[in-house]
């Protein structure tokens, strides 16, 4: 089976690799690029553990072929912390908004995408946006509180910078 040459940008770094035509973006991230922060939960787009953004759009990396990422800009959980943790990451720790942590990378990536579109969401908006990120431990309340607390801090920072 002939491999497909994929050139893409992951967390700002240019990368290239040879993909099997059937290989998902999730498998390429984990197995070829050693970016194992992106998790496989269901593999069928139901759980959101594999959430990444592609050209700024939130997607399940298990529902996309690696070949489809050619020429695109992919952002994963590994690109979230810069010099310091992202406010969402910090607030998830402060609020203990995780237990086993398996769903956490996907939820953080999804929550970041939400706050970029909507810096001041209602609880309902957060819950609907994250409806595709399943957590079997927390019961979600702490996750929602952490997202809202991070959003409030990020609004404050934004005002301070303006």
């Amino acid at each position: 089976m002939s491999k497909i040459h994929v050139t893409t940008t992951v967390n700002g770094d240019p990368v290239e690799f040879l993909a099997d035509p059937r290989e998902t973006l999730l498998d390429a991230l984990r197995n070829q690029l050693d970016l194992t922060g992106t998790k496989e939960g269901c593999g069928t787009g139901d759980c959101g553990a594999c959430s990444v953004t592609v050209d700024g759009t939130l997607v399940c990396s298990c529902l996309m072929l690696a070949a489809e990422a050619n020429g695109k800009r992919v952002e994963t959980i590994e690109g979230m912390a810069k010099e310091a943790l992202h406010p969402l990451q910090r607030k998830f720790i402060e609020h203990a908004a995780l237990q086993c942590g398996f769903c956490t990378p996907g939820i953080l990536v999804a929550a970041k995408a939400l706050l970029e579109r909507n810096p001041d969401p209602t609880d309902t908006e957060v819950r609907y946006w994250l409806a595709g990120n399943l957590c079997r431990c927390t019961g979600y309340d702490k996750i929602i509180r952490a997202v809202q607390d991070a959003a409030a801090e990020m609004r404050q920072e934004h005002r301070g910078a303006a």
Binding site: R22, G43, G45, L58, C62, L65, A110, W129, G132
Partner: protein, 288 residues
Amino acid sequence: MRYHTPTSFADAAAIAAGASGTLRFLAGGTDVLVQMRAGMVQPDDLIDLKHIPGVDKIERTAEGGWRIGVAVPGIVLGGHADLVRDWPGVVEGMNLVGSTQVQGRATLAGNLCNGSPAADSVPGLIAAGATVTVTGPNGSRDLPVEQVPAGPGKTNLAKGEVISAITLPPRGKNGGDAYLRFIPRTEMDIAVVGCAVSLRLDGDKVVEARVALGAVAPTVLLSEACARAIIGTTLDDAALGALAKAAEGEAKPISDKRGTKEFRIAVAGVLARRAAKIAYDRAKGLKA
């Protein structure tokens, strides 16, 4: 598996027509990749349509309708203010499909070609009078959306044919549409019943109507009887009662884990009434 990236629909159709094994077209992939993973479908040829110019565009037609590319995902439809103003029912149907992540990929054309009788975007398209352009080895033809599904998982497209665009007619004045579905929770589920209504008013009176029912037959149904029940009325209680009765009469569901036959028939009537009222209010400009 051979992964193809044609740059025209004519090329895509030619590859499809020449393929001898299992073939799938790839738009958003939110059904195809799941089927591949489950082993339900093992394509020998996979034709990615996203390299064809224009597939990611939403454009006004010369007549004042909309031409929607086959790779436009739900999140882009939902973010298109002018399209939402014209056809809120079409967009709200599509936006009910899956999660935020799925909305980032899933398309109208894919939802239609997946052939599910419970597809949430299809009743709205049918009620709206949408058409699809189908490109095959011998050129293109247009057909109404209701003629695409043939049964669960099956379409009426011939070998080598692919949907190359979806066209919504001009909304025109005093029109409104709406889609409602019943699921036992608020999000991330498959319709037990769905219903879309599109209508046009002259004053208070309904002068045109199209009603589509989902998940109550092997394909999404366009119901003449439901339309007749409300055309010429002011959508008063008598008309709504007649509409509900017509919808119950049209529904030919099966019983399965999502709902019994009797429940689906009753819900078809309820949703038809409610969707008609929302469409009516939208036509009146009463709510978004």
